[in-house]
């Protein structure tokens, strides 16, 4: 059952081949027997899952099922789920039982999905390797010595190891695409504003966007359908009709103009990864695409720009974690200052503290213009690069990450090296564009992802390209060997 895609599972549930309860029990058993080696879940919500499944089975029996009714899902532990611990991977929220439901999870609940649990992540979504979690690092199912990627590493590993058919993720600088790439799955970061941020614990509000992670583009289309849409509770969500993402999956790619940015194939790109990407581009050409060299001249500035803007917003977003109302509180505070200092000092991990400090510095009097304002100007330049590029091409294609998954611990002590691993993904967040990562090869048994970046609200086009590519290739069908029968 666990090798089936959502589309297949949905058909099987409808045909009565098995019940959602059987399906759910199967995945719960897999989590219990296998996740010890991956650590992809922070919380497994067994009782809730079985209750959801019972309800879904009734709904299916009544003929009121949607394509997602009865399908088990895991949610990144950044989405507030009412009555269930929502930790954001932090000691700070280890005791936090969310009192309300995020819009994303509420949408899946309404569709009749089954929640298996909450997946591991870098603390407050800050990280590229999932080594910054209070609950320990996540191992890559393809090679447990390797990182799963971050920050949605738990979601990516759980999908790759077939512990869940799909999972939600969030992407602030590559946090869906990069782990999807490293774990050989399909992930999509929608256009900023396409999916509501209500109930998603904020890291950098102007960059954060939720998206689906699954094995195929077809499944991702189904999931995005449930997630996307205007939410009156999120002022930054966009009031624009949601397309039927599944309807256009099979459209021809004849005449598709694909741009290859020179900057994404420059120094720092692993030659084996480059080869995988070239092969994938050839495949797209076979499907009818024409390829053009383009330039995104300011993309080399995306790392410095991102690492000013994101920490600046984070430094403010994380101020509410002060030990006063919810979350971690230090033992026996002596006075207010002691409460603040020790609660935050003990509750946050090193990378979170580093970014709070960087962001606080960037917003300080005397530095604001030199850092924050400058970074915003660069952000505008990066966005203009893309707008110019989309005058000539329909989509931009390149590697998702410069290398395959590196080993756990390899870059843990070198934050700058770690930050550079996001070099190809950051610019889409800065511009607010949609981007996907799809499996496109392997290097020494570790998956390599192809990144496809589209214009604003071109999710349907991205999914169409990804689906046609997956019809012609089988990288997305490959499974890690050591994930049980």
């Amino acid at each position: 059952m666990h090798n089936k895609t959502i589309v297949e599972l949905s058909r099987a549930l409808a045909a009565g081949e098995f019940s959602s309860t059987e399906l759910t029990t199967h995945f719960l058993q897999r989590i219990h027997s296998l996740d010890e080696q991956y650590n992809s879940f922070i919380t497994v919500t067994e009782e809730r899952a079985l209750a959801d499944a019972t309800e879904a089975d009734e709904r299916i029996a009544q003929g009121k099922a949607t394509a997602l009714t009865g399908i088990p899902l895991a949610h990144k532990d950044i989405f507030c789920t009412q009555g269930i611990r929502t930790s954001a991977g932090s000691k700070m929220l280890d005791n936090f039982i969310a009192p309300y439901e995020s819009t994303v999870t509420a949408n899946f609940n309404a569709a009749g999905c089954v929640m298996l649990g909450k997946t591991n992540m870098d603390e407050f979504a800050m990280g590229s390797s999932n080594e910054n979690s209070f609950y320990g690092p996540v191992s890559n199912p393809w090679d447990t010595k390797a990182i799963a990627g971050g920050s949605s590493g738990g979601s990516a590993a759980a999908v790759a190891a077939r512990l869940t058919p799909a999972a939600t993720g969030t992407d602030t600088g590559g946090s869906i695409r990069q782990p999807a790439s490293h774990c050989g799955i399909t992930g999509l970061k929608p256009t900023y504003g396409r999916v509501s941020r209500w109930g998603m614990i904020a890291y950098a509000s102007s960059l954060d966007q939720a998206g689906p992670m699954a094995r195929t583009a077809e499944d991702v289309a189904l999931l995005l359908q449930a997630m996307a849409g205007m939410d009156p509770k999120d002022s930054t969500s966009v009031d624009r009709p949601v397309e039927d993402y599944s309807a256009t999956l099979n459209e021809s790619l004849q005449g598709l103009r694909v741009g290859l940015p020179a900057e994404f194939f420059a120094e720092g790109l692993d030659s084996d990864v480059e080869q995988c990407v070239s092969n994938a581009v050839s495949e797209l050409e076979k499907l009818g695409a024409t390829v053009k060299q383009i330039s995104l001249p300011n993309s080399n500035l995306s790392v410095p720009s991102y690492y000013v803007i994101a920490p600046a917003e984070a430094s403010s977003n994380l101020s509410r974690f002060d030990g006063a109302r919810f979350g971690y509180r230090c033992d026996q505070p002596q006075d207010l200052e002691d409460l603040y200092k020790r609660s935050r000092g003990e509750g946050f991990g090193a990378e979170v503290k580093r970014r709070i400090l960087v962001g606080t510095y960037a917003l300080s009097a005397g530095y604001y213009d030199a850092y924050y304002i400058q970074a915003q100007k660069i952000r505008r330049l990066i966005k203009n690069d893309f707008i110019n590029a989309f005058n000539d091409v329909d989509v931009i294609v390149g590697p998702t990450a410069p290398t395959p998954a590196f080993n756990l611990g390899e870059k843990a002590d070198d934050p700058v090296a770690m930050y550079l691993s996001d070099i190809y993904t950051l610019s889409t967040n800065l511009a607010g564009l949609p981007g996907m990562s799809i499996p496109a090869g392997q290097v020494s048994g570790r998956p390599v992802g192809l990144q496809i970046i589209g214009n604003y609200f071109s999710e349907a086009k991205l999914l169409n390209i990804a689906h046609r590519f997956q019809q012609a290739t089988d990288w997305h069908l490959k499974a890690p060997t050591d994930i049980g029968a």
Binding site: F79, S102, R197, W198, A204, S235, S315, L363, Y368, Y372
Partner: protein, 481 residues
């Protein structure tokens, strides 16, 4: 050479919206602690703000009322600092591009002159919660009911030169925002709070002295006291060879003292930046014109109208037209009794002093405008005397019924009937022949004074019910024979 005081005000005005500025929670004052704080007001992880359109409309109305530039594009920023009653660790406010730009307000000075005070800008922001330091045995309680209540902060230029001018400005602002209906004006509930920036300089100097800011004064009296205290402190300091330090000060109304809260060096670096959870707010001409069309009559216009329509004195108008509630009450009384001068005398006199004595707002007056109007009708038609009217008013204040009921039950109806009065006069004259002789022997200019004796006797005999005017007239005829 003397000193000149320079004062600028920052006024926080709570807007009378039903719900908060970024959440749907109620803004009603006085609920049990923390019962009117939603997830948004509590700053829960993952929450997002949505701007209250009514708060924006109110801010625009204020801007139009002070003839200010309205920003078609404004945006919110975050002011970051840690405090337990600030749940998110930042206040969402406006800095670079506030909704209301420069404007001006005309104030009336105690000597009757008018003066223009320039408004630098006014911006929208959320209020913080309250820290309760009593009742918790060395700990502090936090009430977040107020957190997220919409405020406009009105920032004046340093255009005031005395505490009297500052108070006149504050009162004028109060009259504007209550006339607009955008604030309930309940100062005791914190609906208007003042921060005063004070500096002093030698008379004739063009250079501003170093200023201090005294925060959170919630009455005119406290403001006056705090300014006086601060001016004295600064002058003493400079005359003793010291220098004024830029600092924030706190005034203690109980001890009538102030202390330094923090110096400029200790001031927070608020790290303002545009709030990424809210898009810039763009308003169009249609929105502005709709707000303009909804503007009620403003105090200055009302004052002009009262002068013109009711032919009242400048003093009466200044008392009656400033506040919408008072003006509405007065106009209702006038409509009933059809005598503006009489209505003005009673509203600014007896009624005002009773309300003042019992610290009541005119909207809570035990004597309604219709009731007062009906009583004044009885004064006008001579049913009761001025003195009788005071008795009737007292009884109405105590809820003893309508003017007519009280006049009847207390027998306050004046005797104006000539026959009855003449009989009384004859009786008194007969009983006081010596005084009558004396009167008649006196020259005309002395008689005026002497007539008072007879009036007194008749009033006594009638137990106050005789119409004094009528008695006077009839007496004169009879005595002069």
């Amino acid at each position: 050479m003397g000193w000149e005081t320079v004062i600028g005000l920052e006024v926080h005005v709570q807007l009378a919206t039903k719900s908060k500025i970024f959440s749907g929670a109620s803004t009603v004052f006085g609920a049990e602690p923390n019962t009117q704080a939603s997830l948004v007001d509590l700053g829960m992880p993952g929450i997002l703000p949505v701007v209250n359109e009514q708060a924006y409309r109110y801010a625009v109305m204020f801007g139009l009322a002070i003839d200010a530039k309205i920003s078609k594009r404004s945006y919110f920023e975050r002011k970051n600092y840690f405090y337990p009653d600030l749940p998110k660790g930042y206040q969402t406010t406006q800095l670079e591009q506030p909704i209301v730009g420069p404007g001006h307000i005309q104030i009336q000075l105690p000597n009757g002159d008018t003066k223009e005070v320039r408004i630098h800008h006014a911006h929208l922001e959320e209020d913080a919660g309250k820290s309760l330091h009593e009742d918790f045995h060395g700990m502090s309680g936090i009430d977040l009911n107020r957190a997220g209540t919409p405020l406009i902060e009105i920032v004046s230029e340093p255009d005031m030169r005395s505490s009297a001018e500052a108070v006149a400005f504050a009162k004028k602002l109060h009259s504007i925002v209550t006339s607009l209906g955008i604030c309930d004006g309940e100062m005791s509930q914190g609906s208007m709070r003042f921060d005063v920036n004070v500096s002093v300089r030698k008379k004739g100097s063009e250079v501003l002295g170093t200023r201090t800011e005294t925060k959170n004064l919630n009455s005119y009296r406290f403001m006056e006291e705090a300014i006086a205290l601060e001016v004295e402190r600064q002058i003493d300091l400079i005359e003793d060879g010291g220098t004024v330090l830029q600092e924030t000060r706190l005034y203690n109304a109980d001890t009538r003292t102030a202390r330094s809260m923090r110096s400029k060096e200790e001031a927070n670096d608020y790290r303002y930046f545009p709030c990424p959870d809210l898009l810039p707010v763009e308003i169009d001409d249609e929105f502005i014109e709709a707000a303009r069309a909804s503007l009620p009559e403003l105090p200055d216009a009302r004052q002009a109208r009262f002068m013109d329509q009711y032919k009242l004195s400048e003093y009466d108008v200044s008392q009656l037209a400033q506040y919408r509630d008072t003006a509405e009450y007065f106009e209702k009384v006038t409509k009933t009794c059809k005598d503006a001068k009489l209505a003005a005398n009673w509203v600014t006199g007896e009624l005002a002093s009773r309300l003042n004595k019992e610290s009541l707002n005119i909207t809570h007056s035990p004597v309604g405008a219709d009731q007062l109007g009906e009583m004044l009708l009885r004064v006008k038609d001579d049913t009761i005397s001025g003195k009788g009217a005071k008795t009737v008013f007292d009884s109405m204040w105590n809820k003893e019924g309508s003017a007519d009921d009280i006049i009847a039950s207390k027998g306050l109806k004046q005797v104006s009937d000539s026959g009855a009065l003449e009989a009384m006069i004859d009786e008194v004259m007969a009983a006081n022949t010596a005084q009558v002789e004396q009167y008649r022997a006196s020259p005309a200019e002395k008689r005026g004074k002497m007539i008072g004796f007879f009036v007194g006797q008749i009033m006594k005999a009638s137990r106050g019910s005789a119409n004094p005017g009528q008695v006077n007239k009839l007496l004169k005829v009879k005595l002069d024979g």
